[in-house]
Every structure is written in structure tokens, then in C-alpha cells.
């Protein structure tokens, strides 16, 4: 393998740098030109127009509040959950593991839509319920507000914050706290002066990572923000290209450049924070277990609180969607509603040619895109982990950089590129865009699998008489399979539900599921939305299960 490595690295750098640098440089060029046909005529007009727009100040303000608000809320909840899980005797700890994989199960757009179904001011189920049974004259709750958006986005990003904070919490050395108590500090003082400062790098990292996610978030701002005319950067970009008579890609690119700059800055902050965090973790003693705090009477109330969050995250969205797909119009669950249930929305969706086309396209993109993406990821991860030259460092930097790219912004960049190629308005444009944007998600599980394959395992096979091909077949591939499968599942489910890139790249004929769901949301066709949404969840689940089955077969065959 060492022999073809020199040719492999430059090839991969060429592919990956095309995938990451191309959309960004097109975005950059596009932001300085007039219209998407006239690339090359330099103008500052787009930036001037963007920043002189009086409405843009409000957008910046909304974006800031939305991003920081959801980052703080998600991190605070994650901190509480991680503390309860690692440091207390709260019952049913396995629940916390479930919480951390939820975003793989429920697409963000459906989650946002289900909250709209529950809390929209005109016919949200909870609002109708409150009006009917508690005598409110007007809908008391409104999800189409900045607060509503922050709440939903924070719930969606909670698992990410949890995954960052939880390891730091388990590695926390309790003797630090104990010595503070011995020195005479109270419990509260210890928490404020010792526990939180020691966890600070992890907490800040979680806040930064969630901020990057919510800055890029499109599902929540589009479904919950746009009905109330609350625009953030992502939806502002969408408005510039998708609504009105003449889409202004130059201006969208100019806004996109600003978002990208913030996002890249945040991701570098995140990286330096996690590097610092690792320093803390390595100091802590090995084989050590944190002391468990007895919650006593608070045990069950706290457990109920945690279960409530789990319910909000997992059960509620699916139940609401399923219910909505069966009732003819919004009504509170009752005998009357039960009697009125039918499959009208399901039939309508199945007969709708665009919905069926989007289903076909999404399945195609999920399976083929994830497979191609994972093949590329295997080679990239191999070069990053096993070859380890200056060039492979460059490759790592490229693939890491694309981690910070907001989907809609990359979408604008790709659009400016594809419009000059025959790929424009084809499914292949979406395929390339997906792989470019989500490549880090494939690389990560595979490179950690590669790290676990100690070079001695390979070498001992060679000494035992196995050729490099034989070694590949009997040692490397089988050991890599779990990483490949989990990377494939991650990519496939993300592709099936992909929204923020698709809203830019999808054209008539290349509709995908999430975009079609967004159209239904915009048109208020909640029943069809719910039916198609459940089909989408079903497709993701089938992909996950079949990939796991294939993994089992590979293990058996060996």
C-alpha cells in the first residue's frame, strides 16, 4: 500500500479541495459580481446593498439572539442532563443514551413542523385545547416567535451539546471538589468556584458548536420564523433566491460570505477549545470513578423532568405527525376526531407525482450518495490516519473546514458553479453538493476505526505470509466494517432528510423529500406534510436497519 500512497494523496487532495474550495471560491466571486451570468465584472454593489438595507439590522439582531439563545439553552440543558447522568443516582440512565442519538431519527424540518402543529396561534392543537377547555379568548401561545424558534432549535441541538459535555463530566476529578469542601467552601461555592471553571473549556466548546449549528440552521427559521416574518441570515438568503420575481444570487452570496466568515471563526474557536479540553482530560487519573451524589427526595421529580424532555424530543413529534396525517383538519383529539379519521392525506400524497418523484430522488441520493461518499471517506481517512505526511495534514484541514460550512451558503456557491456546467438542475448536482457538505460525517467514524487498527495488526499479517491484498481482505476490511457501516448510515440518513442545501440546488424534476415538505409547510398543507414526513422517517429507518443487517452478514462471512 505504501507504494501507491504518493499518487493517492494528491488525487484525494484534488477531489476534496474541489469539493470544498470550489463552492467557496464561487461564492466569493459571486458576491463581487452583478448577476450570475456576468462573472468577472467586479462590483462592490452587492455588499453595499446588503449592508445599507435598513431591514438587515433587524436580521442581524434576530440571528444573534437566535444563535446565542439556542446555544445557551441547549448547553444549559445538556449540562444538567450530563450532571444528572454521570454524578447522581438518577434512575433509568439508559434514557440519556437514547437522547443523544435522537437527531438521527427525526429530521429537523419535521420536528419544527410538529411544533408548529402544536403551538401555532391559529389552529395549534395545544392552543385550540386551551381555548376550548380553559376559556382563553385568544391563542395564549405562539410558536412563530423568536422565543419559540430558540426553544425548538435548542431541543434539536441538545444532543450535540450533550455529546461534548458528557465526556468532560465523566473525566472530572472529584478530588478537586472534595479538596474545596475540605478547605471550608460550601457546596454552592464549590460548584461556582471549582466545578464550573474546570468544565469551562467543554462548556464553551458546546456553546460554540451549537452556535455554529443554529447559525446554519434552516429548518427551524423557515418553518417557525418565516410565518411570523422573523428572518435570520439563512432565511434571508433563501428569500433572496427563492421568492420574488428575480432571484439575486449576488446578494445572497454577499450575505453568505458574512455567515461563512462567522461560522469559520466559530469552528476555529471550537477547535482550540477542544484542544485545551483534551489537556484537562489527560491529566485525570486512570480507572477512576466519580462519586455518585444521592439525590434523595429529588430523585423522582428530576427523573420526571428528564423523561419530559425525552418525550418532547422523541414521542411528541411522531405522535403529532401521525395524528395530523389522519385527521381531515386541525382538531383536538376527541371522539369526533377519531370518527373523522381517514387516509385522505396519505392517498393524496401517494397520488401526488411531485411527492413521489421527491421520494424516489431522496432514496436514490441516500443510497448512491452515501455509498460514493463513504468510498471517498475511506480513502481520505486512510491518508489522514495512516499516511500522515504534510499533504495528508492539508487533506485533514480541508475536510475539517467543510464541517463549518452552512448548507444554504455552500448551496449558493455550488449553484453559481453548476449553472456554468451541464450538471445544472440535474440530480448529480445535488449528489456532489451533498457529498461535499457532509464528507466530514463520513470521515470521522472511519478515521476513528482506522486509528483503532494498530499498524502491528497489518504488519503481523504480512509477516504471517499474507500479501498486501490478502491483508486488506482478511484484516483491514473486516476491522473497518463497523466504521464504514456507521458512516454510511449517518450519511444516508442525512441525505434522505437534507434540506438546507437542497432548497438552493433542487429544481423542477430534482425535488427531494425535505424540500417538498417545506413546500407543504409554506402552503399550510399539514396533513400531506405529516403523511410525507412519516414516509421520510420510514425510509430512514429502513436504511438504518438494512445497513445493520448487511453488517451482520459481512461479519458472518468474514
Amino acid at each position: 500500500m505504501r507504494r501507491h500512497a504518493p499518487a493517492l494523496t494528491p488525487t484525494l487532495i484534488a477531489i476534496v479541495s474541489f469539493l470544498t474550495v470550489c463552492p467557496i471560491s464561487m461564492l466569493f466571486l459571486g458576491s463581487f459580481t452583478e448577476g450570475w451570468e456576468a462573472l468577472g465584472n467586479f462590483t462592490l454593489q452587492k455588499y453595499i446593498k446588503t449592508y445599507s438595507d435598513p431591514a438587515f439590522a433587524a436580521i442581524i439582531k434576530n440571528t444573534t439572539i437566535f444563535t446565542i439563545g439556542s446555544a445557551l439553552l441547549a448547553t444549559a440543558l445538556a449540562l444538567l442532563l450530563a450532571y444528572l447522568n454521570t454524578r447522581t443516582n438518577i434512575p433509568f440512565k439508559s434514557l440519556f443514551g437514547i437522547l443523544s442519538i435522537v437527531p438521527m431519527m427525526i429530521p429537523h424540518i419535521l420536528f419544527a413542523a410538529s411544533w408548529a402543529l402544536l403551538l401555532n396561534p391559529s389552529n395549534g392543537l395545544i392552543n385550540i385545547f386551551l381555548k376550548q377547555f380553559l376559556g382563553f379568548a385568544e391563542a395564549p401561545l405562539n410558536i412563530y416567535t423568536l422565543e419559540g424558534m430558540i426553544l425548538v432549535e435548542a431541543l434539536l441541538d441538545l444532543p450535540i451539546a450533550y455529546l461534548v459535555i458528557s465526556p468532560a463530566m465523566s473525566a472530572f476529578d472529584v478530588s478537586l471538589e472534595e479538596s474545596s469542601r475540605v478547605c471550608g467552601a460550601s457546596s454552592l461555592r464549590t460548584t461556582l468556584k471549582v466545578t464550573l471553571p474546570v468544565l469551562r473549556p467543554a462548556i464553551l466548546a458546546a456553546i460554540t458548536l451549537v452556535a455554529v449549528r443554529s447559525l446554519a440552521s434552516f429548518a427551524v427559521p423557515s418553518v417557525l420564523g418565516m410565518p411570523g416574518r422573523i428572518y435570520v441570515m439563512a432565511t434571508h438568503i433563501y428569500r433572496l433566491i427563492a421568492t420574488g420575481f428575480s432571484p439575486d444570487y449576488g446578494m445572497a452570496a454577499a450575505v453568505g460570505m458574512s455567515v461563512l466568515a462567522i461560522s469559520i471563526t466559530l469552528i476555529f474557536v471550537y477547535r482550540s477549545l477542544t484542544a485545551e479540553g483534551e489537556k484537562y482530560v489527560t491529566i485525570s487519573s486512570r480507572g477512576y470513578r466519580p462519586t455518585v451524589i444521592d439525590l434523595k427526595k429529588a430523585k423522582y421529580p428530576l427523573f420526571i423532568f428528564v423523561s419530559l424532555i425525552a418525550c418532547l424530543l422523541i414521542v411528541l413529534p411522531v405522535v403529532v405527525l401521525f395524528y395530523t396525517s389522519l385527521v381531515p383538519y386541525s382538531m383536538v383529539p376527541s371522539a369526533k376526531a377519531l370518527a373523522a379519521m381517514n387516509l385522505k392525506h396519505w392517498q393524496a400524497v401517494i397520488k401526488d407525482p411531485i411527492s413521489m418523484l421527491s421520494l424516489k430522488n431522496s432514496i436514490f441520493l441516500g443510497i448512491l450518495g452515501a455509498s460514493l461518499g463513504i468510498i471517498l471517506s475511506v480513502f481520505v481517512a486512510y491518508v489522514i490516519v495512516k499516511v500522515r505526511t504534510t499533504a495528508s495534514g492539508l487533506l485533514e484541514a480541508f475536510s475539517f473546514l467543510s464541517f463549518s460550512f452552512p448548507g444554504i451558503v455552500v448551496g449558493i456557491g455550488f449553484m453559481l458553479f453548476f449553472v456554468r456546467t451541464p450538471l445544472y438542475a440535474t440530480i448529480w448536482a445535488l449528489l456532489i453538493g451533498y457529498i461535499a457538505t457532509y464528507l466530514p460525517y463520513g470521515i470521522r467514524p472511519i478515521s476513528s476505526a482506522f486509528i483503532q487498527i494498530h499498524s502491528h495488526l497489518e504488519e503481523s499479517s504480512r509477516v504471517c505470509g499474507g500479501s498486501s491484498f490478502y491483508t486488506m481482505r482478511r484484516i483491514i476490511i473486516p476491522l473497518l466494517t463497523p466504521g464504514i457501516v456507521s458512516g454510511w448510515i449517518l450519511m444516508a440518513t442525512m441525505f434522505v432528510r437534507e434540506l438546507s442545501l437542497s432548497v438552493v440546488l433542487s429544481r423542477p424534476g430534482t425535488e427531494v423529500l425535505a424540500v417538498q415538505i417545506l413546500r407543504f409547510a409554506e402552503d399550510g398543507l399539514w396533513g400531506k406534510l405529516a403523511a410525507l414526513g412519516i414516509i421520510m422517517i420510514f425510509v430512514s429507518t429502513v436504511l438504518v436497519i438494512s445497513a445493520s443487517l448487511i453488517e451482520g452478514r459481512i461479519k458472518k462471512v468474514k
Binding site: 494498530h454 502491528h456 504488519e459 509477516v463 504471517c464 505470509g465 500479501s467 490478502y470 484484516i475 476491522l479
Partner: protein, 381 residues
Amino acid sequence: MLSLAKEEDQYFVPNPIKQMEIRISNLSKDFSLEGKKFRALDQVDLTIPANQIFTILGPSGCGKTTLLRCIVGLETPDSGEIAIGEEIVFSKEKSIFIPPEKRGLGMVFQTYAIWPHMNVFENVAYPLQARREPKEKIKRKVAEVLQLVQLAGFENRPATKLSGGQQQRVALARALVAEPKVILFDEPLSNLDAKLREETRKELRRFLTRLKITAVYVTHDQAEALSLSDTIAVMNNGRIVEIGTPRDIYFHSEHKFVADFIGRANILEGQVRAIENNYLITDTSLGPIVCQKKREIEIGKKVYICIRPEFIKIIKTDQKKGPNIFLGKIESLVFSGDLCEGEVGIGQISLNFQVEPTSPLQEGEEIFLQFPPDHCQILLH
């Protein structure tokens, strides 16, 4: 624990058709680490005799593992030649590089490199499967070799469910199953705890001697090297410093580095003043010391004198006769179970010494010491 069967020799004895001597000449290899180039192997010339346990001993970073990896084919040297038996496996000049899988060697890695996705049988059978041996033969041979390392009945145990000692034995079985010409060990005991390591070392010696196989063993542990080997090659900075039997290396080392690295040593600077019969008289900062004369040496030459703590004798005042007697004051004395170790000051110089654990000596006491001339070694710079 590696407690190897003693009675199974008749089932499994690899058949050395030829005397598998390893000849290495003029071998060099450079590495670059963080932009800096350094020489891992510096013109190494070495002949490893057949059917011996040959140990390459040296501090970490001395190039010993690189040398082993060059022999097995996992590294490509920059220059030189390696021959195993009659076959040249690497030659820069003749552009020969036989890949590791064609060299027919067995190797036990430091990490054991047991494949985690296979069970014990699959791990051990691997070298035979790679050679496309018939299934029946594979089954028989794996059973034999597992019997030999006392792992019979463990065939279906997953590799991840083995203790450190068992993993080590699986690695050994895997290295032996294809009846290799030579077996190589890269610090195979360094992952075992101290007690198990000592027992395993003894078993391994008994086992390898009985198999009559050429074994090359790399370690940084001098006690392991002394007790295990037929021959030791001491390496430092990419060069072989000295080769000899364990006793030669311990009692008659020629180099300061070797004497210092192996065992505990007091090393003094000195100058040859006279040669008398078979002894040298040297001037040191302690005064004149009479030393053994191993080789021709000219008067006036600067040398080092090595005196091992266990040979420093404590004598009573009335027995004060003979050469190399000094008065010293005990600076420290520590009881460590099987003996008492301490430091004794003679003038400005402190020397390590040891006495039996029941000795009534106290810190601060003045004692007479004698260095027997036969145990005062002359070392070169």
C-alpha cells in the same frame, strides 16, 4: 502465564533443514522526524548464528527495533545487505527486496497484534491459510501448536476475551505454526507485569532451546537479556557496540556504555601507570587501583575503571592486606529485602556498594573496602 508443556516435543518440532544464520552487512537507515534527520541504523555489520537465542539489547531509540523490522521486511534499509540462510532478502546493490510475506519468518510483536475480529483458532491458522494449506492439515497443525503453548481447548475463544499472558501465547503459537526458519521477538514481555514477566522469561528460554530454532529477541531490559540469551549484541545510537555471551558482556565488557547500561556499575576515570604480570596499575582520584589486564594496553593511556557494587568487599581492620584497600564512610544504607544497598564516600567520591541484609553496619560508620583486582574492569572510552 506462559507455562509451556514439557512432554509434547514429539508432536511438534520444527525441522531446521538448513542452519539459518542471518548475515547483515553495512546496513544503514535514516529516519526524518519533524523535519530532523537521524540515523536509526549506522552501518550495522552483524552475524546472528543459527539455533541460538540472540538478543539485541539497547536503550529506547537505539535502533534495535528498526534492525528487527529490517530483518523481517517491514522497513526498507537505505543501504546494505541482509541474508537469511542461503537467501539474500535485501540488497541495495543488487536491488533485491523480498516482501515480508515471502521471507518465511515468525514474529511476536510487542502489542501481540492479535486480530480482534477473529477467535484463537482463526488467529493461529492465519499463516497456514495465507499459504493455502489444505483444511485438514491446518486443523491438525493448529491443534498441535495450541497444545504446545497449553492453549488446547481455547480454539473458539474470541481474541478479545484473552488475558495478557494468553494473548502472548496465541501470538507465539501463530509465529510458530508455519514452522518458520527464524522467529523474531520485539519486546514481547514488556506488557506483562513484573512477576509474570520473570516466569514467562524462564519458560520461553526452556522452550526456545528445545525447539532448536534461531530466535532474535529485542529488548531494553538488561536482566531479561542476561537470563534469556545465548548471545547478546548491545546497541547504541544505531550501532552495535559489543557482542558476547551474557557473562562476557557482564564481566568483561570493553565499553563504558555497555558496563554502565548492564547491571549497576561504579565507573571511575583513570590513567595506566604500570603493567605488572597480568595486572595493570592505574592512577585514579582515589589513588592507585590494580585492575585485571584483558588486552594489550600502553602505559599512559586514559581509561575507565568499572567496579560492580556486588564485588566491593568490606573487610575487618586486621585483614587489611593486599591491593585496592580504601577507607570510606557509609553515607546511606537502605534495606531492600534481599540485600542492603548503600553509598560509601571515599574522599570526594561516592560509590555504590551492597551488603547482606543482616549486616550490622550503620550509616555514618567508617569501613575498610577492598576492590578485588580481578573484578576491576578496564573500559575504553
